[in-house]
Structure formats: structure tokens, C-alpha cells
Symmetry: C2
Subunit: 157 residues, 2 copies
């Protein structure tokens, strides 16, 4: 079993913005229109995107503001930053706010990162590995992530 993320409904979008607003307020930060717009944009996208890609999709906000807002949103746990195969960071809404646990398919040809869900059996195995790391190495895991590196369908045709 392996599915794409579910699309967010209007109601989910509303609660998403409420959640984000609350997190920002708790940190003494403001939920400005540019940040709201950025969160909405990330919510519409079905996979992590780089700053340059976001700029291309919507150039209403300069690069530096995009970086700064992304840093703030990451700080309060709304956004997650990914380092893929290349050296550009890609961003997605954090699982804490989407409630959508997933992993990634990383294309080493074009750099694209796609979301992917895996079966409960695989998740169980990952949790076992997390427990072992803590027991045997004293390593405290925040998140586990599984990444499959290879070439996406778009690249190998």
C-alpha cells in the first residue's frame, strides 16, 4: 500500500490557518498576509518545493522575505525543511499541522521530492529501528524518515 496525500478540504484549510495563527502568536510573531499566503501555497502543493520554485509560481514576495518567513514558520513547527539530493532546500507543511505522516521519493536526476505513504508493516519496522537506536546507542529520535533514492517516472522515459 502506497498512496498520495489526501487533498485538504476547505474546513481543513480553515483549521490549518487557525493552528498556524496560534503557533505564531505563542511565539510573539504575526500572521501577516504574506505568511498566510505562503502557508496556503504550501498547502496547495502536493510535494516539497524549493524557494526558487515557489518564486516562479508566485513572485509577489521577494526571495529574502520568502527565506525569512520560511525560517519563522519552521521555528514554530509549521514548516519542515528538507535537504534532498542536490544542495537546495525544499519545504513542506510539517506533519504536526497536516496530520499526514509520510516519507519521500527523492529523484537523483531532477531533484524532485515526492511524498509517499507506506504500509503499517513498514511503519512498524521503522518504529522498531527507532527503539533500537535509543536502547543501544542512546540516540533520541525526533522523527524517522525513510527516503528512497532513484529516478522518478518522468526522468527515465
Amino acid at each position: 500500500m502506497l498512496t498520495s496525500p489526501a487533498l485538504r478540504s476547505a474546513a481543513m484549510t480553515r483549521s490549518l490557518h487557525d493552528d498556524v495563527a496560534g503557533r505564531l502568536e505563542a511565539a510573539g510573531q504575526r500572521y501577516t498576509s504574506s505568511r498566510r499566503q505562503l502557508v496556503a501555497q504550501l498547502g496547495d502543493l502536493e510535494r516539497p518545493h524549493a524557494i526558487a520554485e515557489l518564486l516562479e509560481l508566485d513572485g509577489s514576495q521577494p526571495q529574502s522575505s520568502l527565506y525569512r518567513n520560511m525560517a519563522v514558520l519552521e521555528e514554530v513547527g509549521v514548516v519542515r525543511r528538507l535537504q534532498g539530493a542536490d544542495d537546495v532546500a525544499r519545504f513542506e507543511l510539517a506533519e504536526d499541522v497536516t496530520g499526514h505522516h509520510h516519507h519521500h521519493l527523492v529523484c537523483t536526476s531532477c531533484g524532485t521530492i515526492d511524498d509517499v505513504e507506506v504500509s503499517p508493516a513498514v511503519e512498524d519496522a521503522l518504529h522498531e529501528a527507532v527503539s533500537s537506536a535509543r536502547r543501544e546507542r542512546g540516540f533520541r529520535t525526533d522523527v524517522h524518515r525513510m527516503e528512497l533514492l532513484g529516478t522518478c517516472a518522468r526522468c527515465h522515459d
Copy 2:
């Protein structure tokens, strides 16, 4: 089950260098003393290291040569480049030449990446995910990697 990589014996080191020499020759590249020294150094280290760290351990080779040799060795499949939690690349000998399949514990506090082996049950689960990705997404996986992100024992005391 979860163990550290086995140390390489003198015999393994010999065959390692033969392997590397062959791969470089096949690519029309030379196995110079600086490259040999670099491979030996990576073979002695028990976890991936950044260029800056390698320079500190052995400054006999300038940064640019280190980067260039690392790129060549990566090209012929001797070295694997990892992008960890921070934005510095770390390098290790590729599994093809060590025969040592493993995953990584990534410390989000100090950036250190440690090798870790997981149980056959976990490996089986990972293979299942690889198969699903190919079947359902047309994603051709070169390598699967599992990374646990958190804080290492050194950092949380």
C-alpha cells in the same frame, strides 16, 4: 539488533585498494597517492565526515583537491556523498566497495552522522517499500536509506 560497522582487516584494505584502482582505471582516471591516501582515510573512519573535518585530520591536501578527488571517487562509485541535517556534505566509502549495508543516525544538534545496521525484519520492510514505489509510482530505486533524526548521546547530557 543494531551494531556498529566491523573494522576492516589488512586483507580487506588490500582488496579495497585493488577495487578502487580498477574502477578508476576503467574510467581513465589515475589512482594517485593523494587519492589512495583519501580512500585509506575514509576506510579508517567509522562514520561519514565533512571536508572540513577531513582537512583537520590531515591537511596534506588542499581543500580544492579534496573536493575534486571526492567528486571523482563519487563518480566511479567508490564514495557516497550525504546531505545531513546541516548544509555541509559528508562522505563515506560506498557500500559497493565496503560490502557493508547500513543506515544513518543524524544528530540535529551537532550534525554528526553515525552508521547503524538494522535487523533483517526492518530491511525486509524497506524492500517492500521499494517494490511498492516501483509498482505504484514507476519510481526506480537505486538505494533505499533510512535516517533517524534526533540527538546523539553526546549532545543530550
